[in-house]
Subunit: 196 residues, 2 copies
Amino acid sequence: MATRPRTRLQQDERRAQLLELGGELFNSRPYDEVSVDDLAAAAGISKGLLYHYFPSKRDLYVATLRSSADELLRATEPDPALQPLERLAVGVDAYLRHVEENTVGYASLLRGGIGTDSEVAAVVDDTRGIMIDRILRDIPLERPAPALRLALRGWIGFVESAGLEWAENKAVPREKVSSVLISVLQAAISGALSRQ
Amino acid sequence: MATRPRTRLQQDERRAQLLELGGELFNSRPYDEVSVDDLAAAAGISKGLLYHYFPSKRDLYVATLRSSADELLRATEPDPALQPLERLAVGVDAYLRHVEENTVGYASLLRGGIGTDSEVAAVVDDTRGIMIDRILRDIPLERPAPALRLALRGWIGFVESAGLEWAENKAVPREKVSSVLISVLQAAISGALSRQ
């Protein structure tokens, strides 16, 4: 990456710029191979100034993950104008496009880029929780049965494992992955809600 | 745990004893809270002797994981006398019983008990690979399509996520979890193999 000239930016712009650069760097190389020197050089600022915004590489990393998770949630925001099944299809497609465009970041997030970091785990768990709540909103039940929660949690695991496999090997067309994810969700929900 | 009296054991027996003790301790507390002193005291041997068998706490931990994964694979070994669907049902039930009996170990293994350790990841990945191969053996195809691999990989993710959720909250009967897992697998396979 070319070194950018040092420029004076407003605090908010600077923070946004660092988040974007961090996202690019962490998305192109494993966490351990990104140094604070790389980050500062890419931003065209001193290490001291970088530390002013993010006290450590880990802080910047967690912030880029959070910003990437926010982006994923925005991209997959359910459209209330659609019917539930179409809403789901659009959301799943947007999710897979996000995986396509953020392969390394997605993989390192789910494979535990920096181990058992509790803040990283929280970003992942919060995102899962929001995705589950979105699906629950489309299922007319007074109180979601424990079996339904378990099935939805399982489905998120399916999406993430298939997503990781797919991120590493794009041999399957996105539409196919999407249709498998949708039929699996339908089977999971009806399995959970059936009497048997 | 009561301290056991020091005894002289044959090398193989001693190793097996340490693996079992390690399994018990790592299954009852998080990795970071188990010390080499605890392990040696529980086995009734000196730290020096413990280090002779396992050079570090991590080595013992990885060995107990491997032994627990082997146990899981043995417990879920497919019975060739059964029909495919029954074979699957028996296997899924055995898997869930294993989760029931090894809750903490199962959770710490899948949540990344010691972070991004590559040996731990290898134990998990090998186990997944064997489970996928067992299912593939029951699907008569000359060469498994990439979509089928992706669907099976996704299903393993479903099993693990639902298994973790279930391990933490047993509100759903095992038979129910089992039936959800089986219908999800069927949907995943037919989704992957369908033309559309």
